[in-house]
Subunit: 109 residues, 4 copies
Amino acid sequence: MNHSIEKCIEACLECMNACNVCYVASLKEYELEMLRECIRLDRECAEICSYTAQALGRGTEFAADICALCARICEACAAECGKHQHEHCQQCAEACRRCAEACRIMAVA
Amino acid sequence: MNHSIEKCIEACLECMNACNVCYVASLKEYELEMLRECIRLDRECAEICSYTAQALGRGTEFAADICALCARICEACAAECGKHQHEHCQQCAEACRRCAEACRIMAVA
Amino acid sequence: MNHSIEKCIEACLECMNACNVCYVASLKEYELEMLRECIRLDRECAEICSYTAQALGRGTEFAADICALCARICEACAAECGKHQHEHCQQCAEACRRCAEACRIMAVA
Amino acid sequence: MNHSIEKCIEACLECMNACNVCYVASLKEYELEMLRECIRLDRECAEICSYTAQALGRGTEFAADICALCARICEACAAECGKHQHEHCQQCAEACRRCAEACRIMAVA
């Protein structure tokens, strides 16, 4: 497996974990109303990252298209989570940005 | 949920099932060598169909992009399975074509 | 594929859909605070149902154990959703109960 | 998130990757006939590991049952892959064993 693919799988799995941590923590927050979109996009992003990591791991020939989609969803999640000051939101936004970058490299490969 | 989305979820789940049935049956066939690509694409297609059905079910705003990707993978699986005369391959190819059509409608919606 | 497996796959996919519909609708409800557990279990249940449907579809030899787990999660989701009067919660609870029944049959098979 | 859960997520994701690598490589091997069960169990194991990693990541209360199931499937995959001398099979068997151990700890926690 080449280095870009390995880095991308790793970034996807870290992003998936950060999204799931943020999802659970957001569902417990006092100001739940403000976090509706955050919760929704955390799941959205965790699911595509999980799918992408597995697809890359099994050597899919659709890597470019899959990674372009994954990057787009990661960017949307980063934008939403980035609005909130909770540490889990900020960490999630950061993981989403790193994953989007790794996916953009794969998308044009 | 609107009618096109419901039809597309249904087509994805039927395609997922047909791909999984074809996958298991192919792995048991005597002429295994000829079915390498069929087995590989059956899994590839089952996974994207499963992902797409769930994403549509939770009202994703990325439906057009997800369905475009799903259609592309379904078409690749239909092309491969369509080459083989096993009944499970022919039925899978048919389900893939129907799913690709339903996804193409969503992709331009 | 035998009849019990087919019925169980169908029940899992209907439950997955009902959970995803309830999940999205719950995230938009005015009384969000009361639905934290409902939202969380909707996702939990949708994920295990999706996994179980695919595993059964590919003829897993672990069907009994997988279905026992799926039944348990469906029952937990039915119990939570059953507490709420929203139509999506009631419909979800009903789908979860049907899926749990179908899974219990597989679990002792 | 406590240390055992983190270790278990990590072991699941490493096992998922090893299973997917072994799956792809096995599908390309000359002696395909002998690898039917290996290919089948690689997918089976990758799917449960992926599911388990996400479930643990979102703090599921069903961790003990999920990890018991995951351990059982990892052990079956380790037993099968361990029979074959291909490096990808041996590495996969090793990852499966480590994951089974991490899951057994969670299963009795």
